[in-house]
């Protein structure tokens, strides 16, 4: 199982213009300038590939921090 730190790295890879150092476990990701529904789709694709978990839109919308989303993914394993 991937750790929270590994998840944060994978999460940050979905962004093109946001510096990796801006994203950590407690980042409120919806507030990032680059965050969009399109990045949300990339995150869903990443979680599907890396965890074999199918996230719903509400899972992404209701998570506040990157760690919230990680916990959600782990709960679906």
């Amino acid at each position: 199982m991937k750790t929270l730190d590994e998840f944060v790295v994978l999460f940050a890879e979905q962004f093109d213009d946001t510096d990796k150092s801006e994203i950590n476990a407690s980042t409120v990701f919806h507030k990032l300038d680059e965050w969009s529904s399109l990045i949300g789709l990339s995150v869903i694709a990443m979680v599907d590939e890396e965890f074999d978990v199918a996230l719903k839109g509400d899972d992404v919308k209701n998570a506040v921090t990157v760690e919230d989303l990680y916990k959600n993914v782990i709960a679906k394993l």
């Binding site: 529904s37 399109l38 949300g40 789709l41 869903i44 599907d48 996230l55 719903k56 839109g57």
Partner: protein
Amino acid sequence: MAFLEFKNVRIAGIAAGVPRNIASNLHPTKEDYISSDYTPEAFVEATGVKERRISSTLTSSDLCYAAAERLITDLNWDKNEIEAIVFVSQHADYVLPATACILQDRLGLSRECYAEDIALGCSGWVYGLSNVAGLLSSGNIKKALLLCGDAKRRSKVPLDPLFGHAGTVTALEYKENESGFKFHLGTDGSGFDAIIIPDGGSRNQISSHSFEMENVEGKQLSRLQPHMKGMDVFSFGITTAPKSVKMLAERYSFNYLDVDYVIFHQANMKMNKQIVKKLKLDPDKVPSCMFNFGNTSSASIPLTIVISLKGKVEQRLTKFICCGFGVGLSWGTVEFETNNIVISDLVEVNDIEADNKYVI
């Protein structure tokens, strides 16, 4: 497990009709709505849809009709021999009667004709094919037409620039010793509201409330427009489509990497790329037409064959896998071979060709 196999049936030909009018997503009009999150260029890059064919006059059945007339001519079929017609669309000409009944007469088919409508979208061509293959495989009915497409909506609403209008026809015939079709079909009605037009059916009848604009995931929409949970649909597509292809291959013991072409419903570029990546398919084997035609619902698989494979496959044995997935939620995958098929030139339909006989 919803697996089906029908032998002794083959595809004789495929044709597609689209409105002649081209709408560019780089130059949207006030009739289109693009989310304010995107510039037109960003929308085209994200969805892979640069332009699509649109008409405010031609219905799904008008486009299917034009395609069918062309294909019947190209196949040199006698109309009296066509004994079944299945119309797959979410935009029928009338609430009732079934559009297939109108098309039976409009096409000049015999009254000895089985006709029905099927109300499915993105999975509709595969479902329709399973229906028609099942009708033909016993050999009682020898020739049938499967008409699939979506075009003019039930009410004049702003258009989502992801979607184009198209109508297609697939001609099938009974022939002994043909290997036929193998299907995997699935449904998840718990996702009924992932893509939904809330009002206008009998659950929510049309009222003045239906026309009020409400905020749905950042878009201003009326209850007569499709509401789509984009992330849910994306997640569904990238997980379910690859799984369905794998399940079919496993059930019937073939390697899906060995087929000549894998045609997916043209949902949007991001979703389709992810599906191709997950299945590790050679992109050269996965043709697409969404750049010029958008997402055309149940027409997208046969339209892709017409646009991308005409001139390449007609005279040689060709192995296909086709997979449709979407609204319902509903999905289906089919494996089949073609040989000596007719693929008609794309039929471009003018607004004046709209039906004027079956109108009251």
